[in-house]
C-alpha cells in the first residue's frame, strides 16, 4: 500500500477508549493533559475539572500474546479545586495544565500536577495489607477499656483488597503572577522548573516556601510587552540546561551555570520567516505551543499552529526538519480566527527511539512523521473503529480540487473535534490520544 504507517511500517490498531460515550460533553471532563510515566506502566490524565485519573497497564498475559496489557483505572483523585483570588477578584481555574511523573525510587509513585497558579506533588501508594490484632483498639477502631486487657498479642499484617491512595505531599503555591503553562523535572530528580507567561521559577522538590526565579522577561513597562513564554523544558541529561519557547516562534536555550538569572540565552533558535508565507495572521501562527527534547537530548521539537519542527541543538539558524501538519488550513486562517481555533495549543511527542514524532489536528485526526523514511500518516480517533485490534485506516484530507473516494474535504472537517494532547509510551509502540473527553489507546499490531 502506498501509504504505510509512519514508523517502520507499523500498523496501528485500536486498543481501548476511556470516557463517556455521549456527545454531550461535560466541561469538567475535557481532558487537558496526558502523560505516561517513565516505565510506561502508568498513564495519567488531567481534566478541566481538576481531576487526575491514572491508568495502569495489566501485566502481559503470556498466553494471549497477541496484545499487550490493557490500561485500567488505577487511581482517581481531585488534584486541584477552583480558587478565588480576592485581591484581583479573579477565579483561578482548577484545570490541570500539566502532569509530570517523577522517576520511581521506591514502592510509591510521585507526580507533579499543576493548574494556573499552584503545583502539587502527589504520592500514589498501594496498600494491600493492614495490621490486625491491636491490644488497645478493637477491629473497628474503638479503644478498649484498658482494664479488660488481660493478655498481649503482636499485631499481624493480613491481606486486604488493594487500595490505591493519593496524597498531596507538597504544595508549591504563590510563586506565579501569570498563568503556569509548563512544568519540567530536572534530570537531577531534585529540582524542577515551572513557567508562566513571563517568568520561570526553579524549585526544589522538598522546599515549598521558596523558589528561585531564573527567567524574567517582564518588561519594566508592560506596555512594551511583545512576547510571552509559551513552554519550557529541562534537558533530559544536562541538569544545567533548559529551553523555553516564545509566542514569537523563538526558542532560547539557557545554561544555569552562566548566571543566577538566565535572561541572556546561551542559544537562540529562530528560523527566518518565509516572506511568501507572510499573511495577516503570520505572527500569531508562529507562536510555539509546545517544545519537547528528544530522549537522546540531541534534538528538540517545537509545534506551532501549522507545523512541527525538529531542531538540532547545535544549529540555531534553522530547524533540521519541518513537517507540515495541516497546511491546507493556511488559506482558512481568517475563519479559524473567527472561531478561535487559531489559538488552539497543540502538543507533540517523540516515540521512545526518537525516530517518529506525533501531533494532533482537527476532526479527531492525529499525525505521525517518520524521520527516517520521511513518510507520514494521518489517523483518526473515533469510536467507529473500536473493535480491538482493528487496524486503523490512514486518512487523507483533500485540500482542493477533486475529492477522491475516502478523502475528506477541508470544509467538512469538524473543528470542534481537536486532538491537542498525545503521548507515546517510552518503550513500546503504544500511544494515548486525547479527544475532547475521551482517551484512546492504540497499539501496533503484534503478530
Amino acid at each position: 500500500m502506498a501509504e504505510s504507517g509512519g514508523g517502520n511500517d507499523i500498523q496501528w490498531c485500536f486498543s481501548q477508549v476511556k470516557g463517556a460515550v455521549d456527545d454531550d460533553v461535560a466541561e469538567a471532563d475535557i481532558i487537558s493533559t496526558v502523560e505516561f510515566n517513565h516505565s510506561g506502566e502508568l498513564l495519567a490524565t488531567g481534566d478541566k475539572g481538576g481531576r487526575v485519573v491514572i491508568f495502569q497497564q495489566e501485566q502481559e498475559n503470556k498466553i494471549q500474546s497477541h496484545s499487550r496489557g490493557e490500561y485500567n483505572v488505577y487511581s482517581t483523585f481531585q488534584s486541584h479545586e477552583p480558587e478565588f483570588d480576592y485581591l484581583k477578584s479573579l477565579e483561578i481555574e482548577e484545570k490541570i495544565n500539566k502532569i509530570r511523573w517523577l522517576p520511581q525510587k521506591n514502592a510509591a509513585q510521585f507526580l507533579l500536577s499543576t493548574n494556573d497558579k499552584t503545583i502539587k506533588l502527589w504520592k500514589i501508594s498501594e496498600r494491600d495489607k493492614r495490621p490486625e490484632g491491636y491490644n488497645l483498639k478493637e477491629e473497628d477502631g474503638r479503644y478498649r477499656d484498658p482494664t479488660t486487657v488481660t493478655t498481649l498479642r503482636v499485631p499481624v499484617f493480613r491481606p486486604m483488597d488493594l487500595m490505591v491512595e493519593a496524597s498531596p505531599r507538597r504544595i508549591f503555591a504563590n510563586a506565579h503572577t501569570y498563568h503556569i503553562n509548563s512544568i519540567s523535572i530536572n534530570s537531577d530528580y531534585e529540582t524542577y522548573l515551572s513557567a508562566d507567561d513571563l517568568r520561570i521559577n526553579l524549585w526544589h522538590l522538598e522546599i515549598t516556601d521558596r523558589s528561585f526565579n531564573i527567567v524574567d522577561i517582564k518588561p519594566a513597562n508592560m506596555e512594551e510587552l511583545t512576547e510571552v513564554i509559551t513552554a519550557a523544558e529541562f534537558h533530559p541529561n544536562s541538569c544545567n540546561t533548559f529551553v523555553y519557547s516564545s509566542s514569537k516562534g523563538t526558542i532560547r536555550l539557557c545554561d544555569m551555570r552562566a548566571s543566577a538569572l538566565c535572561d541572556r540565552h546561551s542559544k537562540l533558535f529562530e528560523e527566518p520567516e518565509d516572506p511568501s508565507n507572510r499573511s495577516f495572521f503570520s505572527e500569531i501562527i508562529s507562536s510555539i505551543s509546545d517544545v519537547k527534547f528528544s530522549h537522546s537530548g540531541r534534538y528538540m521539537m517545537t509545534r506551532d499552529y501549522l507545523s512541527v519542527k525538529i531542531w538540532d541543538l547545535n544549529m540555531e539558524n534553522r530547524p533540521v526538519e519541518t513537517y507540515q501538519v495541516h497546511e491546507y488550513l493556511r488559506s482558512k486562517l481568517c475563519s479559524l480566527y473567527e472561531n478561535d481555533c487559531i489559538f488552539d495549543k497543540f502538543e507533540c511527542c517523540w516515540n521512545g527511539s526518537d525516530s517518529v514524532v506525533m501531533t494532533g489536528s482537527y476532526n479527531n485526526f492525529f499525525r505521525m512523521f517518520d524521520r527516517n523514511t520521511k513518510r507520514d500518516i494521518t489517523l483518526e480517533a473515533s469510536r467507529e473503529n473500536n473493535k480491538p485490534r482493528t487496524v486503523l485506516k490512514p486518512r487523507k484530507v483533500c485540500a482542493s480540487g477533486k475529492r477522491k473516494k475516502d478523502e475528506i474535504s477541508v470544509d467538512s472537517l469538524d473543528f470542534n473535534k481537536k486532538i491537542l494532547h498525545t503521548a507515546w509510551h517510552p518503550k513500546e509502540n503504544i500511544i494515548a490520544v486525547a479527544t475532547t473527553n475521551n482517551l484512546y489507546i492504540f497499539q501496533d499490531k503484534v503478530n
Binding site: 477565579e91 506596555e223 495577516f280
Partner: protein, 223 residues
Amino acid sequence: MEVQKEAQRIMTLSVWKMYHSRMQRGGLRLHRSLQLSLVMRSARELYLSAKVEALEPEVSLPPALPSDPRLHPPREAESTAETATPDGEHPSPEPMDTQEAPTAEETSAYCGPRPAKVSRKRRSSSLSDGGDAGLVPSKKARLEEKEEEEGASSEVADCLQPPPAQAEGAFPNLARVLQRRFSGLLNCSPAAPPTAPPACEAKPACRPADSMLNVLVRAVVAF
C-alpha cells in the same frame, strides 16, 4: 472597499474577543490578549493603508508607506503600548485616561489635510465641532456622538453576537463603555436610518467610518 471592510471587521472582532476574554474564568490570559492585539494592530494598519490608497489622488503619501500590514518599529511599540496593558498589576481606574494623541498623530501621518490633535490634555467640555468629533476623548460627547454613527457599520453586524448586558470584573467602567459602544455598532437599530451608505467610503467625506476607527482604536487603548 473590500480590504477596508475586511480590516474593519477583523478589528471589531478582535476588540470583541478581547472584551469577551476578560469575562472568562481564570481571568485575562496574557498570551491571548497579546495575540489579539497583534491582529488588531495588523488590521488597523491594513485599514489605514487601504484608506490611503483610496485617497491617493488627494494626499501625498509618505515615501515609506507599507503595502502589506507591516509596522514601523516606533508605531509598533506604541501600538503594543496601547493594547498590551492588561496584567492586573496596575489597573487604570479611569479607562479614559489613556493615550490618545499617538493615534491622532498616526492618522494624520496618513491623511494630511485631516486636523491632527496633538494636545494630550483631555478637554472636559465637549468639542463637538465636526472636525474633531472622533478624535477628542471627551466622555460625554463621545458617547453621544456614538449613537449617531450606528448606521455606518451595517456590514460588521452580521457575525458578532450582542455583548452581555451585565459587565463584571475589575474594570466595570470600561466594560460598560465597550458594551454601549458596540451595542451601537453590532445591533444596527432599525429605527435609525443609516447616516451614509457604505459606498460612500471612497469619497472624502468618509468621516463616520474614520471616527469609528478611532473609536475602536481608543477602545483598545483604554483596554
